[in-house]
């Protein structure tokens, strides 16, 4: 933000981020408690399962997006990659390819799309906003062309079944979140690569002069973001049982919003893995609760907008007061 004077904090960034995450968790818990009181249907095992499924896809997108935002970039293409990936994985499976191979190819394709973004940024000097906006536009076109505007029906039952089942009582889709989040946490918070990512977002020139390969980090960030989107594409294809290029529309904004609600700064160098996760589930819970309470669909939009403002505002307050 342009007018903000760097907040002067004497506490540590690490404690800070931890406490901050705690308070976001607190908010999530608060919402859940309120909903449990408001409707008996909320705190049922079945609904919690649904909720975990509903939030899982945006959560994974938000984690990927966070890597990119930490480098002071943005990835508008993730929604389009989700839609495109459903088409690719559905097409491959329907062409008779073994499911695991179809999935691997789809993820690699996602990675390559991310590398293309990084190429545009690093080599062609394009702003991230523009290159990812361009692929957003083009990818939807390619996906529509591949399916001729229709959907590809996936007939492999086991693939579809995966998204419905649970393991140890937790829906498989949420296990996917864990499978993505744990390595992401290690990468971002415990490895040197994570440190380099922050350095690039904070001051690329200083990072460079400290021996960090800025282009490499850009490739990694965009590659991971696009690959997360491809993972979500596979999950969505499994969940819907179809490939359809127009799916995932607007999910990029939801992912970015989750990330920012989770404390990521769009100016780079500030962000975590747990924050966006919680951000995504806050949004999912709001929408789940509104559905259970049968809130009018139009009111739901109004409330969601207002809650985003309130949540981020209190977050800002908390940051300033320390």
């Amino acid at each position: 933000m342009t007018t903000e004077i760097t907040p002067t904090t004497t506490k540590t960034r690490r404690n800070f981020s931890f406490l901050f995450a705690l308070t976001l968790v607190g908010l999530l818990v608060l919402i859940c408690v309120a909903l449990s009181i408001a409707t008996p249907n909320f705190a049922t095992g079945n609904n919690i399962s649904n909720l975990l499924r509903q939030g899982s896809m945006i959560a994974i997108l938000a984690i990927g997006q966070t890597f990119v935002i930490i480098t002071a970039g943005i990835d508008l293409s993730v929604g389009a990659i989700v839609g495109f990936s459903t088409v690719v994985v559905a097409g491959l499976i329907q062409s008779g390819m073994p499911v695991y191979l179809a999935i691997i190819i789809t993820l690699i394709m996602g990675l390559l799309i991310g590398f293309f973004h990084a190429f545009g940024i690093v080599k062609m000097g394009l702003p991230p906003f523009i290159i990812t906006l361009a692929t957003l536009t083009s990818l939807r076109g390619i996906g529509l062309l591949m399916t001729n505007g229709s959907t590809i029906n996936i007939t492999d039952a086991s693939f579809n079944q995966f998204s419905r089942e649970s393991f140890l009582g937790v829906p498989n889709l949420f296990w996917m979140v864990i499978i993505v989040a744990v390595p992401a946490f290690v990468f971002l918070h415990l490895s040197k690569w994570g440190r380099y990512l922050y350095a690039v977002g904070s001051n690329p020139e200083a990072a460079r002069l400290s021996g960090v390969s800025v282009p490499k980090m850009i490739y990694i960030a965009y590659g991971l973001s696009a690959m997360c989107a491809a993972i979500v594409g596979v999950m969505l294809a499994a969940r819907l049982g179809v490939g359809n290029a127009t799916q995932g529309e607007g999910w990029e904004l939801q992912a970015i919003a989750s990330s920012v609600i989770g404390g990521t700064s769009l100016f780079g160098a500030v962000g975590s893995v747990h924050g966006p996760l919680i951000g995504a589930f806050i949004l999912a819970t709001i929408s789940n609760g509104a559905n259970l309470l049968n809130v009018n669909s139009f009111w739901q939009r109004i409330i969601t907008g207002a809650l985003i403002i309130i949540i981020v505002f209190f977050d800002q307050l908390r940051r300033r007061n320390r």
């Binding site: 001729n148 049982g241 049968n294």
Partner: protein, 300 residues
């Protein structure tokens, strides 16, 4: 040989939807058969009225023999169509618009489609529970799309007038995403344990709703009626997840639209209004030849 130079563009509401691809396929087939050049145009979302007006303007610039259009919005497209009709004959398909200038209409009555869906839902509920009673819900793909509003209207009117035992407990709008329809449906099932039926009024939402019902194993308890069809929905129809589909005849609309347009451009007289109809296809009648024809249109 004259006909080779004849161009008749067709402008649909949303080229990214399967339904409109079938319309385009019909138009394409007619073009090949009649030797007419058929540019396939259309906006990229049903709600993009301005986009469709621009496309119409551009199409008029090309001075074609006639234009076939499916207006996205009744009143907004009225004046542009009247203006375009001053230089080019206009044939309307699917939905109408507030213009006197159409040379011919081949529409399907979406309000009627909604009524048929209500009838189908009532029948399915009766078949499952033995009585036409209980809570039902409707899911609309997105607000402000003319034909979806008409379906919703027809469905609600029919419920109110014919099936007093069925109460509408939820009237939901999604955001064009199947995943949203899926989430809404799971939450509906959670929030309304007594729910007995859902009408998902277009293809995408029927996919989402069908998946939710399958996921929750609620096919026995909840009847689902969809609108339009594709392989996925036919699969659901087969396995009983979906009880019935309301299916229009988009292929014929495209085909006959071009045919009529060519006739008009040659100065022949044509019928002013044609209703291409909406049909209810259930698990029971889905194997009939007419049903198969509707469920498997010759796209490409």
């Amino acid at each position: 040989s004259m006909a080779q130079d004849v161009t008749i563009p067709i402008i649909v509401k949303d080229t990214t939807s399967f339904y409109w691809q079938i319309v385009l396929a019909g138009a394409r087939a007619a073009g090949e058969e009649l030797g007419v050049n058929v540019p396939e145009l259309g906006a990229q979302a049903e709600t993009d009225i301005n986009g469709q007006i621009s496309i119409l303007e551009n199409a008029v610039s090309g001075s074609p023999a006639a234009i076939v259009i499916a207006p996205t919005e009744r009143s907004a497209l009225g004046a542009p169509i009247t203006e375009a009709a001053a230089s080019v004959p206009i044939i309307g398909i699917d939905s109408s618009a507030e213009s006197e200038a159409f040379s011919s209409f081949l529409t399907t009555d979406n309000v009627q489609g909604g009524r048929i869906a209500a009838d189908g839902l009532a029948a399915a509920i009766e078949a499952a529970t033995g009585k036409i009673e209980g809570e039902v819900a409707i899911i609309t793909n997105s607000p402000n799309a003319g034909s979806l509003e008409e379906r919703r209207q027809g469905f609600m009117e029919q419920l109110a007038s014919e099936y007093p035992g069925l109460t509408l407990v939820a009237d939901k709008y999604a955001d064009g995403q199947a995943a949203t329809g899926l989430n809404i449906t799971t939450d509906l099932l959670t929030a309304n344990p007594n729910l007995v039926g859902i009408f998902a009024s277009n293809l995408i939402q029927a996919q989402g709703a069908g998946q939710a019902i399958a996921e929750n194993g609620a096919a026995e308890r909840v009847a689902l009626i969809g609108f339009d069809s594709d392989d996925k929905l036919v699969g659901f129809l087969k396995d009983g997840t979906i009880d019935a589909l309301v299916v229009q005849d988009p292929y014929r609309m495209g085909f006959d639209g071009i045919k009529t347009a060519l006739a008009v451009s040659k100065g022949e007289t044509v019928e002013k209004f044609v209703d291409t109809g909406a049909n209810l296809i259930t698990t029971a009648n889905m194997e009939e030849p007419r049903s198969q024809e509707l469920l498997n249109p010759k796209v490409n």
